[in-house]
Symmetry: C2
Subunit: 464 residues, 2 copies
C-alpha cells in the first residue's frame, strides 16, 4: 500500500484524464465502500472510484496506479461476503459497471462472451434465450457480476454437479497488475499451452488483475428443473437422507440442507408451508431434458422419502421458481430473525457434515450465542451462522468470537476455511494459520505477478 497520504482531488484529476470527467467519483459514494460484510460492520474508505469504459481504459488506470503506487480495488456487484472488494484508505476503487458491452453468443459451440460488469442474471437470461445454460448460481444473481463470479470462483447450489465458475470459464481478458491487457485461454474449450494462469486468476479476489471480459463454456439449456425437498424430524434423519442421495446413482444438480434454525427462520416464506415439527430439510434437484430429469427426480425422491415428514416436488415452472426464491432468501430470512448475522462458509469432507453441524452447535453454546447452519450438503459447505442483534455491542462481540471459532471446524475436520466466499479481509486471521510453505508459495506467486503490490493488497493472502 502507498506509504504517503495522497490528495484525493489530485488523484481524481489524474483519473479523469483517463476515463473522462463523468466516470470518476470523488468523494466515493458509500455503496462502493462496502459489501455483504456491512452486516458485520465492515466499511471502507477510498480516494476515488473510477469507472472505465473498456479494457483499454482499465489497463491505463492500472498503469497509472502502478506508476503512482496507488492500490487498486476491483469491484463487481459488491455482493461479496468476505470484504474482498471493500477498499482500504488510500486506494482507488475500480468499478466494472461499464464493462458490459454487447457480448457474443455462439450457440452451436456452446460458448458465450460477456463483459465483466454484466450481472450473472443477465448472463443466465441471455444464455437461455440462445438455448444455452450457465450453471453457477450464487444467490445474488441479479446484483453480482460475471467478473466478480470469476474473481471469487463463485458457486452456489447448482455447482454441486456443474462445478464452480472456474469450471465454466474458457477464456478471460485480464489486465495484469503490471498493466498488460492479456487474453488467457480463449474460444478453445481446452488448452494446456501455458501454465494455468487463467485458473490462477479465478478465485484470486482481485489480487492478480482485473477481469474485463469472460468467455464461458456453456451447456445446452435444460428443458426442466425438478427440485425435490424433504423435511425430517431431526438432524440424524436428514443426514441419512443426504447419504441416501449420494448412494442413489444420480448426480443431482444441487444437494442442499437447512438445519432447524434456518428452516424456522424461513418456514413462513416456504411455498405451501411445512410441518411444524420439521427440524431439518434436504433439497436435491434434477435438471435436464424433461425425460431424463423426471427419471432422476424420481430417484432423488425415492432416496429422500425414508422417514421424511413431508416431501415436496414442485413441477411447474412457477412452483420451481418459487422454491428457489425461497432457498435464495434463506440468508436474508436468517438475518431478519435478529437483525443481523455473521456467517462463515466453512467446508468439510462430505462424510463429516454431521460432526461439523455438532461443532457449530457446541460453539454457539460455548459463546452463548444463537447459531444455525445451511448450505451445500453435497459439497460439504456449511454457512455456519451466528444470529445477532447488531445494535447490541456485547452480543456483537460474542458473535464475532463464535464466528471466528467456526473457522476452526475446517482445520479440525480436514476441510477448508472457505468454499465460495473467499478470504477477503475478514478471514485473513484464519488464513494465516495455513501451512507456512503453502502461504509462502502463494505469496511468491503474488509478488511475482504484482511486484509493486498494487492489486487489492491486504486481501486474500495474509501479510507475508
Amino acid at each position: 500500500m502507498s506509504g504517503e497520504i495522497r490528495d484525493a482531488a489530485a488523484v481524481a484529476r489524474d483519473l479523469r484524464r483517463i476515463v473522462g470527467d463523468a466516470h470518476v467519483l470523488e468523494p466515493v459514494p458509500a455503496e462502493l465502500l462496502q459489501d455483504a460484510t456491512e452486516t458485520r460492520g465492515v466499511r471502507g474508505s477510498a480516494l476515488a472510484a473510477v469507472v472505465p469504459a473498456d479494457a483499454e481504459e482499465v489497463a491505463a488506470v492500472v498503469r497509472w496506479a502502478g506508476a503512482q503506487g496507488v492500490p487498486v480495488v476491483p469491484r463487481g456487484g459488491g455482493t461479496g461476503y468476505s470484504g474482498g472488494a471493500v477498499p482500504d484508505a488510500g486506494s482507488v476503487v475500480l468499478s466494472t459497471d461499464r464493462l458490459t458491452g454487447p457480448g457474443r453468443l455462439v450457440p452451436e459451440a456452446w460458448r458465450g462472451t460477456f463483459g465483466a460488469g454484466t450481472t450473472t442474471a443477465e448472463v443466465q437470461r441471455r444464455c437461455l434465450e440462445a438455448g444455452l445454460f450457465f450453471g453457477p448460481n450464487p444467490g445474488s444473481a441479479e446484483s453480482c457480476r460475471i467478473g466478480g463470479n470469476v474473481a471469487t470462483n463463485a458457486g452456489g447450489p447448482r455447482s454441486f454437479r456443474h462445478g464452480s465458475t472456474r469450471a465454466w470459464v474458457g477464456g478471460l481478458e485480464v489486465v495484469l497488475p503490471g498493466g498488460d491487457l492479456v487474453r488467457l485461454g480463449g474460444d478453445a474449450r481446452k488448452s494446456v499451452e501455458t501454465l494455468d494462469l487463467l485458473g490462477l486468476v479465478c478465485g484470486s479476489e482481485g489480487t492478480l488483475g482485473v477481469v474485463c471480459e469472460v468467455t464461458l463454456r456453456l451447456q445446452p439449456a435444460p428443458e426442466i428443473a425438478l427440485p425435490v425437498l424433504a423435511v425430517y424430524p431431526d438432524r440424524a434423519t436428514g443426514l441419512r437422507a443426504i447419504a441416501a442421495v449420494m448412494a442413489c446413482g444420480v448426480v443431482p444438480t444441487a444437494l442442499e440442507f437447512l438445519d432447524g434454525g434456518a428452516l424456522r427462520a424461513s418456514a413462513a416464506a416456504f411455498p405451501g408451508g411445512l410441518p411444524d415439527d420439521a427440524a431439518f430439510a434436504v433439497l436435491a434437484e434434477a435438471l435436464g431434458t424433461t425425460e431424463v430429469a423426471r427419471l432422476e427426480a424420481a430417484a432423488l425422491a425415492d432416496a429422500l422419502a425414508d422417514d421424511a415428514l413431508a416431501l415436496r416436488r414442485p413441477d411447474s415452472r412457477a412452483e420451481v421458481d418459487a422454491l428457489w426464491r425461497w432457498r435464495d432468501g434463506v440468508s436474508l430470512a436468517v438475518v431478519a430473525a435478529r437483525g443481523g448475522k455473521l456467517s462463515e462458509d466453512v467446508v468439510v469432507p462430505v462424510e463429516r457434515l454431521g460432526e461439523a453441524l455438532e461443532s457449530v452447535d457446541r460453539l454457539g453454546a460455548e459463546h452463548g450465542v444463537p447459531v444455525t447452519s445451511w448450505g451445500h450438503a453435497g459439497d460439504g459447505i456449511l454457512h455456519a451462522t451466528v444470529l445477532v442483534d447488531r445494535s447490541d455491542e456485547a452480543a456483537l462481540a460474542g458473535a464475532r468470537g463464535a464466528a471466528h471459532a467456526m473457522l476452526g471446524i475446517a482445520a479440525d475436520l480436514g476441510g477448508s476455511l472457505s468454499g465460495e466466499h473467499g478470504i477477503g479481509a475478514v478471514k485473513l486471521a484464519g488464513a494465516a494459520t495455513l501451512d507456512p510453505a503453502v502461504l509462502a508459495a502463494q505469496r511468491a506467486v503474488k509478488d511475482a505477478l504484482d511486484p509493486r503490490g498494487i492489486m487489492n493488497p491486504g486481501r486474500k493472502l495474509p501479510p507475508g
Copy 2:
C-alpha cells in the same frame, strides 16, 4: 540447468544415501529416457534415475537437487506425446513408480486418494469396485500414471462432458521445487482459501513440483456406457452430424471424429466392419444409469442418423469395450500405415473444426506428405497427424515441417497449440510465439516457485 559436467557415479552415490542402493539406476535404462515422441526421434540422457519410496524421499531428493543445482525430471508412465518427461543431459530422472501405496476410497463421499505412481487403469478399476467413476480416460490408461495425468492435465474422449483431470482433482500432495512437501486442497470438494496453486500444478508438466499423491472428486459409477458410431460418405456430412449432436439437448460423455485417413487405417480393426465408402466417422456416447443412458443414446442416434452410411449401437458390455478398444487403437493403427507419425493436438473453436481439417489437408499437400486427423470433436481437439516412414530421412524432414506448420492452425483459427498433450520439449518453438506478456507472466510464476530452476527446466515454458 547445471553449468558443470557432473560425475554420474557421484550423483548416484548421493541419491543412494536417500533412497537406498536398489532404487537408483545408473546408467539409466533406455526406457526411462523416452516417451511417445520416440516415434519422432526424441531421446534423452540423464546422470541417474531415482525411484523414491514415498513423498518424504521425494522431498529429500528435490532438496538434494536444489543444493546441488541438478535438474530433476519427474516421470510417470512415460506415455507423453510432447517430450515433457524426456530428460536433458546432466539431469536426474525421478520416477514415481514406487509411489503406489494402498490408496483410500471413501465411497459415501465420492472420494479416492491414490499414490501418484498408480496407473490410471488401476485407479479406474478400484473406483469401479467401490461403485465410483473416474472420468478422464487417456488412451494409455494401462501405462500412464495418475500423477502424470495431473501433471499434464490429461483428458481423453470422456473429458468432453466430464472435464480434464483438473476438474476431478480435489487435493494434491506435492513436493514444491524448494523441497517443501505440501498439501494443496484436500478432502473438501471445494476450496477458495488460497490462490489456486493446485490448479497451477495441474498441467505444469513437472515444472512446478513433483505430484506424490492425488485426491480425486469422483462420481457414482455408471451402470452402462452406450456409444453410438455413425459413418458418412464425406467430411461435410460428418460435420453436420457433429453440429446436430451439439444441438440435440444432450451432453454426451464423448463426441469424437475420425477423418477418412484415420478411418481407413483403423477400419480393419473395427468390430463388425464398416462400409467401404465411409470417409468420416462420428462417435458419441451416453453413460449413466441404464434408464437415462438409453434415453440419451437414442437422442444421440437420432442426431447422428441423417445421411449416415451406417450407424452402430453396441449394447453389451463386451461390444462397448471392443468399440472403445478400437478407438484407443486408432493412434497405433495410423502409425502402422507407414511405420511412423508426427501428431499435434491442436485445438480450435468447435465451430471452426471444418476449417481446421481443411487446413490440415492443405498443409499436407503443400509439404507433399500424407496427413490425417481424428480427435475430440466436441472439444475442437484434432490430432493433426503426418504419416511418415521413419527410415526415410527426407520424408521425416518433410513431415517435421508439415507438423510444425500444423501449429499455425491454432493461431489462425483462434485456438490453442495443445489441448491435452502439453508443450513439453517439442512444442516450445510454437509456444514461443504466444503473447509476450502471457509468456512473461508464466515465467514470473515459474521463477517465483523455482528460483533455482531445477524442476524440469527447458520444458513447458519457452526460454525466458
